[in-house]
């Protein structure tokens, strides 16, 4: 487990370093994720321990957003008179985005493949 955690931190560190060096507009952990995928491809698989630790973190990914979410309290007052405009824009735009992205995905998938996602995920 310690080895798996060290692996995740090491790849995050590599990602952060690359982002600092290149000024790329992506968070370091996203680059670290891409590097780890490449490393897994080279090693032909993640071994036995890493998947357990990774899935443990991802199953409760929601927990990790709680501290930042609580920060809403500090800045909620900033919205003030604009609260209605912002809330309407945020909710409608988020719904539209989900609907458009998922629909476009389905339409293009229907034209190009055999609907793998439904068969495997159902």
């Amino acid at each position: 487990m310690i080895g798996a955690l060290a692996t995740l931190l090491l790849f995050q560190l590599a990602g952060e370093t690359i982002v600092r060096l290149t000024g790329a507009p992506v968070p370091g952990p996203v680059v670290g994720m891409a590097l780890l995928v490449a490393a897994l491809a080279v090693r032909r698989g993640p071994g036995e321990i890493l998947p357990g630790v990774a899935n443990g973190l991802l199953q409760h990914l929601a927990l990790l957003f709680v501290p930042a979410g609580t920060g809403v309290m500090v800045h909620a007052a900033r919205l003030g008179e604009e609260a209605v405009a912002v809330i309407v824009a945020l909710v409608v735009s988020t719904a539209l985005t989900i609907a458009v992205a998922a629909s476009v995905f389905v339409l293009v998938a229907r034209a190009t493949d055999r609907g793998e996602g439904t068969e495997r995920g159902a």
């Binding site: 931190l9 790849f11 995050q12 990602g15 507009p25 992506v26 968070p27 952990p29 994720m33 891409a34 995928v37 698989g45 990774a54 899935n55 973190l57 991802l58 409760h60 990914l61 929601a62 927990l63 990790l64 957003f65 709680v66 501290p67 930042a68 979410g69 609580t70 920060g71 809403v72 309290m73 500090v74 800045h75 900033r78 919205l79 604009e82 405009a85 912002v86 824009a89 945020l90 735009s93 988020t94 539209l96 985005t97 989900i98 609907a99 458009v100 992205a101 998922a102 629909s103 476009v104 995905f105 389905v106 293009v108 998938a109 190009t112 793998e116 996602g117 439904t118 495997r120 995920g121």
Partner: protein
Amino acid sequence: MTPALRDIWVYLAATPLLWLTATLLAYWAAFRIHERAGRAPLLNPVALAVAALVFVLSVSGTPYETYFEGAQFVHFLLGPAIVALAVPLYAHRRTIAASVLPMAAALVAGSVVAVLSALAIAALLGASTETLWSLAPKSVTAPVAMGIAEKLGGLPSLAAVLVIATGITGAMIATPLLDALRIRDWRARGFGVGVAAHGIGTARAFQVNELAGTFAGIAMGLNALLTAVLVPAVAALLR
């Protein structure tokens, strides 16, 4: 409070232990409620836990900075968790490789709709310029959104709040919305939530279906890149 109790409170309130424990307990209780309610999307665990913590912090008069000294240990794990997405990504590599075209099309469509619809609606309803540029990157993960907002004259801290609010909104509405649209492909469902609602949407997707979670994670990463290019381009066109 008796003097003895007050002494204990003063001591505990100053250590990271108290608020770290409170964060885990609030989430655990929220998660149990969410489970008990058959994973009802409206009873989102992040929203419930945040509401409980905001209540406790305001009743006890605790500043957010003090709270965060304890909660930062949980917050820190976001980085390793995003790196950990590599594991399901690798496991589903064949499905992903077969879905490159739908992903590319959905990414561009979703990213453009996310930015333009938010700007258009908020502008119509009379939001200020500062607010508009804080709202534009709302669908990407917080560090990227804060960077974009800052560059264009928005407020990074407001952008972070709007990012979190968007994530919670997306996690709450995705399941009923996608059911109503009769979209059953887990790849499409996950990808849509990931484009619109970044990490919090991805967290929800992982709780529903692993393949959906994986595609949400990919969408989150790709949309961070595209939005970082798209929003400044839109700003340049509008000015």
